[in-house]
């Protein structure tokens, strides 16, 4: 998707060192990117740290943005990469040694009964490995093969973590939904 002329102009101004333009750039994308960072990290503070690093990287590399994807896609990729690097540093390696999970049948999840802030909270409760794979597979749209390459694990591990994430989310969402219905009654 080609970028708009507004975005082109904004990029140019940023490249020229216009700090006001970069503030505008920040304001335009910070909210959406913060939501993404929140899904990968466990706390808001950690997410803000990721966002800060991502915007500094973006500022340094804006001139090399090839404009073949949208600015939002480009920024999202930077945020995700920054988050993965932070998680890698924090844990050295992901906590994969949880019990092997078996694929579960997709049960209907009442996602519409929850605000996205609540859904993000459920995702944050997942173990790091499960959370990362769930974000990459279900929400970013990567394949298990791609995820395995990104994280340096096997495809089987990626699948296993994903099934485990689905299992955990199913439990928590159905449980929370039941509580909500109980309160309503």
């Amino acid at each position: 998707m080609p970028i708009s002329s507004y975005e082109q102009e904004l990029i140019q101004k940023c490249c020229d060192g216009n700090r006001t333009a970069y503030r505008e750039f920040y304001t335009r994308y910070a909210g959406e990117l913060m939501a993404i960072a929140m899904r990968y990290m466990k706390t808001k503070q950690e997410a803000e740290d990721i966002l800060q690093d991502a915007f500094i990287k973006a500022y340094k590399n804006l001139a090399s943005f090839n404009q073949q994807s949208s600015l939002k896609t480009w920024m999202t990729r930077i945020v995700i990469n920054t988050a993965l690097n932070a998680l890698r540093k924090e844990h050295q390696k992901y906590q994969w040694n949880i019990e092997e999970a078996q694929e579960v049948a997709d049960e209907y999840l009442p996602l519409n009964n929850f605000h996205y802030m609540e859904l993000i909270g459920f995702i944050q409760r997942l173990p790091d490995g499960c959370r990362t794979v769930f974000n990459l597979y279900a929400l970013e749209g990567y394949s298990h093969k791609e995820i395995a390459e990104m994280l340096g694990v096997s495809t089987g591990t990626s699948k296993s973590q994903y099934f485990r994430a689905k299992q955990l989310l199913q439990e928590v969402i159905l449980s929370e939904d039941a509580k909500t219905k109980k309160k309503a009654i």
Partner: protein, 419 residues
């Protein structure tokens, strides 16, 4: 291919936004300011390092090249049957015991014979082509013979046999602009360039050497008593510098075109035993200066320095073959140079400025340039590059089309993105 499960999650999360805290932007702005400050010092360090390399590298190359040459002097064959005996002796001093001055002082005085001749302290007798130098040395009791420098007229010189001008393969410096960073490929850049190097300044055969001398011998003036001595002149490779400014235009996504305008000065040291008579005054001539009417050959050489001045217009195409954080680029182009002047300075004979034509240089020079550079983005606006290149003359430097000089150069270029 994702299923309904993933699709539902994506829909549920679509449009999710969470406002970060107000402090986040302030932190980002503060970090960017710090980065800018750090880049300033990085820039200074890089410039200092690059300038150091720019000095050291060409001087090393020049020294190696110069030392590799077997002979830097100009040689001539000797006359087989001279019509007159050529006396080519240094003035000698006899009867040292009567001197009140030390030997060293006397030696100094004798070496001053030539300049005194020029300063009209000498009486010249055209008939016997003998110069009698008198003042200042009289107290040293230098005999008349010892002060004589016999001269052979150029007129009527026999065939001197084969002549050989050695050391003409000296290289010749023509700096040029270089482009750089990958991000500049998509933009237009102003640039400032500083190139340095080394090379021979006067890489010229001297207008055909002695063939020209013979051709002109019939009309040559009496050279006022100077000998047709053996030539004894040579020129070392010297330093050169170039400053310029220009602009780089993108040509598609990767190629770019670079052009501009620069000033170049080439400097070298040498010694020579020829002078040029102009209005009864003798001017210094370089080691490769042509022998023409009014040229005189001295019995002793004098030291000189020479500077050639040029205006240069480079035109280069550039292409990046490695484009990471550090960018490597190759380039091909031409450089058109206009020689402005050829200036020679010597303590003995003062200064003289010559036009390229009078020294039988070509005023316009064209060279092909192949380059390699490595560049680094300082920030979104500035980048700096260290470049090295090889230049080969496409046209000769001399009017006889004998010499197509080549050179190595190194330099520093600062780029500023304007678009």
């Amino acid at each position: 291919m994702k299923g309904i499960y993933e699709h539902n999650w994506q829909e549920a999360m679509a449009g999710a936004t969470i406002e970060p805290s107000e402090a986040l932007w302030n932190n980002i702005a503060s970090k960017l300011d710090n980065e800018r400050g750090r880049n300033y010092w990085v820039t200074l360090l890089m410039i200092a390092a690059t300038v150091s390399i720019a000095f050291a590298f060409p001087l090393t190359l020049g020294t190696l090249d110069y030392n590799a040459q077997p002979d830097h002097s100009v040689e001539i064959g000797q006359a087989t049957e001279p019509t007159k005996q050529i006396t080519n002796d240094k003035p000698q001093i006899s009867n040292n015991t009567e001197f009140t001055k030390s030997k060293n002082q006397i030696a100094n005085n004798t070496q001053n014979l030539v300049p005194k001749t020029q300063n009209h302290n000498t009486q010249i007798r055209n008939n016997d082509q003998t110069i009698t130098t008198k003042p200042q040395l009289t107290e040293n009791q230098v005999t008349n013979n010892q002060n004589q420098v016999s001269a052979q007229r150029i007129n009527g010189l026999p065939d001197l046999g084969n002549t050989q001008l050695a050391g003409m393969e000296n290289y010749y410096l023509i700096p040029y602009f270089m482009p750089l960073k990958k991000d500049d490929i998509s933009g237009t850049n102003l640039l400032a360039s500083l190139n340095m190097g080394t090379g021979s300044v006067s890489n010229n055969s001297g207008g055909g050497g002695f063939e020209a001398l013979f051709a002109q011998s019939e009309q040559a003036n009496d050279v006022s008593g100077f000998n047709k001595n053996s030539e004894n002149r040579s020129e070392s490779q010297g330093t050169a510098y170039y400053i310029g400014a220009g602009i780089e235009f993108p040509l598609g996504k990767r190629w770019s075109l670079l052009t501009g305008l620069g000033y170049r000065a080439q400097h070298a040291e040498g010694f020579s035993n020829i002078v040029q008579e102009v209005d009864s005054r003798y001017q210094p001539l370089g080691a490769y200066a042509p022998v023409t009417t009014g040229t005189a050959f001295l019995s002793e050489s004098y030291d000189y320095s020479v500077t050639n001045n040029y205006l240069s217009v480079p035109l280069s195409f550039k292409y990046p073959f490695i484009s990471k954080k550090i960018v490597f680029r190759g380039g091909l182009g031409i450089s058109t140079d206009v020689m402005l002047s050829n200036r020679i300075n010597s303590k003995t004979y003062g200064s003289a400025s010559y036009t390229p034509e009078s020294q039988e240089y070509k005023r316009f020079l064209l060279g092909g340039v192949a380059t390699l550079d490595v560049s680094y983005n300082i920030n979104n606006l500035y980048s700096i590059a260290f470049e090295t290149g090889y230049r080969r003359g496409l046209t000769s430097i001399d009017q006889n089309k004998e010499h197509y000089p080549s050179s190595f150069t190194v330099g520093v270029i600062l780029f500023y993105k304007i678009k």
